[in-house]
Symmetry: C2
Subunit: 217 residues, 2 copies
């Protein structure tokens, strides 16, 4: 796998050491997240909308109702910025000033395009597998009507950067002598026991992918 070409927009001006352009790492972050934040401007005014997404090959897909204002705005071919952020921990330093967070984030710039019918079905399968592998095979497949009511947009993964902070706090050299605890509190998104639908028919067992849900990392 290659690296992303750095552009003016994707080059970190501050803390350039945190900038990552490696395609494999970018894809790993995208494949772990559930929610992206989609940014666009209408008449110069910014909007940031959270939504699900999936990656397949070198495209990021978002989808929603045909009636969605956001999708209708984006498919007109305007600039979009999509950001995915994973929070990995709280970084407790010896000074207030050096406190931080460990995180991995990806920022994608580009223009989204509406996908055709064949790619739409593949993208919806990718969404499903992205959220919970194995689920697609168990459920009622989309009808023609449902497919028609769904818009899927693809954003090419071309102008992309990641930013990563990991590891212990970095304190001022003098502060290491202070009697203050310092370290990292790791955070992760954890699944609890599945809650059956109140209308679930009694004979249906909880599938393994739901009982034992874990996000790969």
């Amino acid at each position: 796998m290659s690296s992303f070409l750095q552009t003016e927009r994707t080059t970190l001006k501050r803390l350039p050491a945190r900038g990552v352009y490696d395609r494999a790492l970018v894809y790993q972050i995208l494949d772990e997240g559930f929610i992206c934040h989609v940014g666009f401007a209408v008449e110069g005014r910014p909007y940031v909308i959270p939504t699900g997404y999936a990656r397949a090959n070198d495209k990021l897909y978002i989808h929603g109702s045909q009636a969605s204002r956001m999708l209708r705005t984006l498919k007109s071919g305007i600039d979009v910025c999509v950001t995915v952020t994973l929070l990995d921990g709280l970084v407790l330093a010896r000074s207030a000033f050096n406190h931080s967070m460990n995180y991995r984030s990806v920022v994608v710039f580009g223009e989204a395009v509406v996908v055709d019918e064949a790619e739409k079905l593949a993208a919806l399968l990718a969404f499903s597998e992205h959220v919970i592998a194995g689920r697609w095979a168990d459920v009622r497949q989309p009808t023609e009507q449902e497919l028609k009511a769904t818009t899927v947009l693809a954003l090419p993964l071309e102008e992309v950067s990641a930013k990563v902070r990991s590891g212990p706090p970095i304190d001022d050299e003098d502060d290491y002598e202070l009697s203050v605890w310092a370290g990292v509190i790791p955070l992760s998104l954890v699944a609890q026991s599945p809650v059956p639908d109140p209308r679930l028919k009694p004979a249906i067992a909880t599938p393994r992918y739901a009982v034992d849900y874990k996000r790969l990392r």
Copy 2:
């Protein structure tokens, strides 16, 4: 507590039942999150940047280095959109089409302003308490130099809306007869055991707020 006035930008066009304008609920969501996504446009092109934040009273604060491109851009008084999203669960329906996620999100529109020195210190205390209550009293306080190097911006919580989905899947009536498991896999951000800084002096015990870290919900 009151409700936010709905404006053109904060009124949900689709699924209006998911729109929430109650100030208490908005504040609860903001107080639970760690990361906001800050959206702004430069020459019509959108940027979405993840960063920490805190709320105090009816303001949302973001901060960073004086040298930060984002903060320097925002403090020129341009429109900003700040979004906070909490993911609560995966909603598994009987059809692919009706799958969803449970979430709570808040969108704030406005213009950010630089705070003065007195408010800056109060805001930094609010950041610290927002992330981990009790920490501020234990650590080395900011020096004049550090305060000078830090920019804090305040965004008034005036033009604000929240969006919430919770509860079981909503299936098409016919689909309830299918032999497909349906329900919710709850997700939450969970803290693991704290990892001491490799340079921590051996006699320093881990403080209770780090051992037992829990995010109020």
